[in-house]
Symmetry: C2
Subunit: 224 residues, 2 copies
């Protein structure tokens, strides 16, 4: 089995990505992050998802993005928008978050001798984040192959983003077909400690619309 | 004054880089890292250097690279080579280290509204690390401009590596001309708690040869 490193947030997309990587025959080393986000419910969810989908290993890395602030997800003085998805890059954008996470995945991949990193970013039903676009992923892959000893030695590292061109409904149908239990996942930007979702933030809206469009019952626990 | 974010290790190169950035008129926000390296003497040195050279701010970020290991600098079971600089990438290479550090600098730069990141990498008298080469720095810059909200909005971010084509002697002469006190810096991979250098690791050898070639008295404190 080939080892792969996968960014696991505990949300719907990364759980589906894990199921896809497993189906492709990878031994999947899952990496989650405590970066000062608003709640830990997604980390709890990541542990459930990693166990349910047969991760080879699951680690949680700390890094202190909250000390920089600048995002509704890392600065409690900036409110999470609940009025509906708007055009443009929202205040929930966390500067350089995916780059930092992919860089830490790159470090682990190189130590493991893995040539494959998986990330569940999605550029269709998404929040307009720049670091979810195909051109960003391609540029990260190019950079990664110049950054590493493996790259210098001619071992090509691939950054797989298998969900990038799927709609949320397609992602959900894919996951359901692979046996993903979305009841284990938490997507809400401001879930409570038990993982119950607000139902109003962009992430909740995109998720709920995805279940509706897919014709799949929504297993999300919502706050009353 | 324009804000810039600078990676500050506490060593000779990053101190020189800070002096150059200050001379260019930047307000310099220095970033150092506790990533599980062998000793904290370089973090102490980074604090001294930041203060001496007039940094606008200096922060230390933690991230747990030691849990991945795979380098003599993060795994105490792997010895630091002391036999002299050899061809190829040495075991002191830390997988993805510069990528992780530059990513965290990118996060801070975006929050500060800065368009400039400085890094004191050097591809002449160096240890063969892949993430010190000009093609790597260029690829990181390209990726960074796709990763960020500022990049999407057309604000170009530059990654400056002003030492990249200088010899160690040229770096030292540059720093001396700018008033850098290299006695404040620690380059050794295995310095003791007081910052005294082993004199035998690659970093010590390149530094000592640089002072000799520059015709500058070496202010380094060596272990007996």
């Amino acid at each position: 089995m080939k080892p792969a490193v996968l960014l696991l947030s505990g949300g719907l997309d990364s759980a589906t990505c894990l199921a896809l990587a497993r189906r492709q025959g990878f031994d999947v080393y899952c990496l989650s992050f405590d970066y000062g986000q608003r709640h830990c419910a997604e980390l709890d969810a990541s542990r459930r998802v990693a166990a349910a989908l047969g991760a080879a290993e699951h680690r949680v890395i700390n890094f202190g993005l909250a000390q920089f602030g600048g995002s509704a997800l890392t600065d409690t003085n900036i409110a999470v928008p609940i009025g509906g998805v708007q055009p443009g890059i929202p205040v929930t954008y966390v500067p350089a978050r995916n780059t930092i996470m992919l860089s830490l995945a790159l470090a682990w991949a190189e130590v493991l001798g893995s040539r494959d990193i998986f990330v569940g970013v999605n550029a269709v039903d998404y929040s307009g984040y720049p670091d979810c676009r195909p051109e960003y992923i391609a540029a990260f892959e190019t950079m990664a192959n110049l950054a590493t000893k493996a790259g210098v030695e001619g071992v090509k590292l691939s950054v797989h983003a298998p969900l990038i061109n799927l709609s949320k409904a397609e992602i959900i149908r894919t996951g359901v077909a692979l046996g993903v239990d979305y009841g284990l996942t938490v997507s809400c930007y401001q879930a409570d400690a038990r993982g119950r979702a607000c139902g109003q933030c962009d992430s909740c809206r995109l998720r709920a619309e995805g279940f509706a469009a897919a014709g799949v019952a929504d297993p999300t626990s919502y706050l009353a």
